[in-house]
């Protein structure tokens, strides 16, 4: 049981099982390994497991139901975080242990907003402005659509050539969904049920020219790469990383829609209820360590979560050489300005997001099937 007093330092070095449901280890595993190397007295061994976010809840539930939690740290996105919180899976870290997490004070401004979304359960470890962006092949689309209207017109003229993935399964998909109310000037961009009339109407119309809603961004990227479609929804990370990996041609370009706001995204560290006091102590030390500038620079990675660092003042020059090279080759200079010049919004809270997904599934995704 972990509800007892959490010591500053574990009584003896712990074995830490880390479960990543957000793909966050790609950015942070180096930080954790560094910590273990430097503090063998705190963490003697780490194991990593990865899982899809939705399955996490079941796994933790089963362990908690039996009173044997063997996972000490979960790395998750907003969805897993709030779903777990609703199910009462997470240890409440804040404000109880705020004093041990002083580096949280150095969050950059939009990242700090994302931390607010986490409530008292998670500590933000990486952040990026995400999207919505459109990615296209310049040889096929010489004049990319510049506004929502142009996008619709393009889709109408080229049926089946525009694509975005099912929002519930795709970061770019959901960013596109949540970003549209700002682009279209909807009544209440935070209320998908009552405030998104224009968005829903727009999506419905757009849907007439979409063949399939893929379940996953990867599939849309593949469609873009092999010429099945010409325009897909993307984010900064989904733009840079796949081109670096070679799954999307290097020549792909991105554009934005007139009047767009960034809908930001972040990853969090959470501690499952039932983790031992020693483990909690270790995790707190670890997270504090991860939020140092030096460690945060590793979050540049290969552009997967571009830029990545949650804290202020981490420059690409601080990143490992490999990151710098990749970003130099596949990054886009225009991103700096785009990020600087456009407003940044936090995503929907989990309840609204689930409601939006459900509405999308029924009315947009399922619309092609007669009831």
């Amino acid at each position: 049981g972990g509800s007892g007093e959490v010591p500053q330092k574990p009584s003896k070095p712990v074995t830490l099982n880390v479960l990543d449901v957000a793909g966050n280890l790609q950015l942070t595993q180096g930080m954790i390994d560094d910590f273990v190397k430097q503090h063998p007295d705190v963490i003697s061994r780490v194991t990593y497991s990865k899982a899809p976010a939705p399955d996490l809840v079941g796994k933790i539930k089963a362990q908690q139901g039996a009173g044997r939690v063997d996972i000490g740290l979960v790395l998750t996105g907003t969805d897993g975080l709030s779903a777990g919180a609703e199910q009462g899976l997470w240890e409440q870290i804040l404000p109880k242990h705020k004093d041990r997490l002083s580096n949280m004070d150095t969050y950059q401004e939009p990242a700090a907003k994302m931390q607010e979304l986490a409530g008292d359960y998670g500590v933000e470890v990486t952040y990026y402005p995400s999207g919505p962006l459109l990615e296209y092949m310049p040889d096929k689309v010489p004049n990319p659509p510049k506004s929502a209207e142009e996008l619709l017109a393009y889709a109408k003229a080229n049926p089946g050539k525009v694509e975005y993935a099912r929002p519930a399964n795709s970061g770019p998909g959901r960013t596109f969904l949540m970003g549209l109310p700002y682009v279209l000037g909807d009544k209440d961009p935070k209320d998908p049920i009552k405030g998104w009339d224009k968005t829903w109407a727009y999506l419905k119309e757009l849907g007439q020219y979409i063949n399939t809603y893929q379940t996953g961004t990867t599939a849309t990227m593949k469609d873009l790469a092999n010429g099945t479609v010409n325009i897909v929804a993307t984010t900064t990370g989904w733009d840079i990383n796949p081109r670096a990996l070679g799954t999307v041609p290097e020549s792909a370009k991105v554009s934005t829609l007139k009047g767009f706001h960034w809908v930001t995204d972040a990853h969090y560290a959470v501690i499952p209820k039932g983790a031992s006091a020693d483990q909690q102590a270790a995790v707190l030390q670890l997270v504090q360590f991860m939020l140092t500038k030096e460690q945060q620079a590793k979050a540049y990675d290969d552009g997967y979560f571009y830029p990545g660092p949650a804290v202020e003042g981490v420059d690409i020059s601080m990143a490992p050489k490999k990151s710098q090279d990749t970003i130099a080759k596949f990054g886009r200079p225009e991103y700096d300005a785009l990020i600087k010049d456009n407003p940044k919004e936090v995503p929907l809270d989990n309840k609204s997001m689930v409601a939006a997904f459900d509405k999308w599934d029924r009315e947009i995704g399922g619309s092609k099937v007669k009831k």
Partner: protein, 303 residues
């Protein structure tokens, strides 16, 4: 049953034994115990838990609220038909295609091992490789469409994935070897001298197959159909990967999955899963009823 005279002669304990013997109760039934222990110990309790959960809807409204919710919502209800529309044809196809192939491969002939192995290979692929392969191979830029187009047979790639057919193909690729292997083994258990007897009675291969082999194979066919059907009915990854998961291939397991893992509404997910089980049970019940009309027993030796 025990005749009056015999009952008079034998003490009552004995006649009870006689009666039990005639009903088939004796020590041999103990062979069931290990399997029952597994099922009861590891399945029945968790299953009843899930069943109980399905009667405790998150949103309240009475024990059956989640069931009502499912059936009153066309978006959910339709998943049953979509699933049946996929799984029954796929299971039927797998079984029906296996039968003639297995029938032709009963005896011994050169190369049989090779052909059998090749037919069974897809079993090793796994859903992911199958899905990836279908996407790569049948996709608009895949080898299949490229071949068709360079042969001039079509000028637009034909759409074989991300729709009903993609899922159907995937169910065939993964389900056929499974059905084939089972049917080949059931077929191998049938005494070939029966077919010979039928041949001397003037039955050509068609009649031999229909009147002798098929009825004797029926129990195996029923089982194979049930198992392939169950696999096809709970199709999940391929419905998403190569199907059209928001539309025509939004199968019932997707509905359950979304309830459980996207909306975290476990009671509703349990209710959907129970409905899923009930639908399967109905189909299987019909099949087993059909099966019970056939002979099940030894096919060897004299008689």
């Amino acid at each position: 049953m025990t005749g009056g005279a015999a009952t008079g002669r034998a003490p009552t304990g004995l006649s009870l034994r006689h009666r039990l013997a005639e009903r088939g109760v004796d020590g041999q039934l103990l062979l069931l115990v290990p399997a029952m222990v597994f099922v009861i110990g590891l399945f029945v309790y968790p299953f009843l838990y899930g069943l109980g959960l399905s009667f405790q809807p998150t949103k309240g409204g009475g024990a059956f609220a989640d069931y009502q919710r499912f059936f009153s919502d066309a978006f959910q209800r339709d998943t049953i038909w979509k699933t049946l529309k996929l799984s029954i044809p796929a299971a039927l196809f797998n079984v029906l295609a296996s039968v003639p192939i297995a029938y032709r491969m009963r005896g011994r002939f050169r190369g049989k091992r090779l052909v059998t192995t090749l037919l069974v290979i897809p079993i090793t692929l796994g859903t992911v490789l199958t899905a990836e392969g279908l996407l790569n191979f049948l996709g608009p830029a895949g080898w299949f469409n490229r071949t068709l187009m360079s042969l001039g047979l079509v000028d637009q790639p034909i759409r074989l994935i991300n729709n009903y057919w993609g899922v159907f193909f995937s169910l065939v690729i993964t389900g056929f070897p499974f059905a084939f292997l089972l049917i080949l083994s059931y077929l191998s258990g049938i005494d070939p001298s029966l077919e010979r007897a039928a041949a001397t009675l003037g039955a050509d291969w068609r009649a031999r197959f229909r009147r002798i082999t098929l009825p004797l194979l029926a129990p195996g066919l029923a089982t194979t159909f049930c198992l392939t059907f169950v696999l096809a009915f709970s199709v999940f990854p391929s419905a998403i990967l190569v199907g059209d998961p928001t539309g025509t291939t939004r199968v019932i397991s997707i509905a359950a999955y979304q309830a459980a893992y996207e909306q975290y509404d476990y009671p509703f997910a349990s209710a959907i899963a129970m409905i899923m089980g009930a639908v399967e049970l109905i189909v299987i019940g019909v099949v087993l009823l059909w099966r019970s009309r056939f002979y099940a027993g030894s096919t060897g030796g004299k008689g």
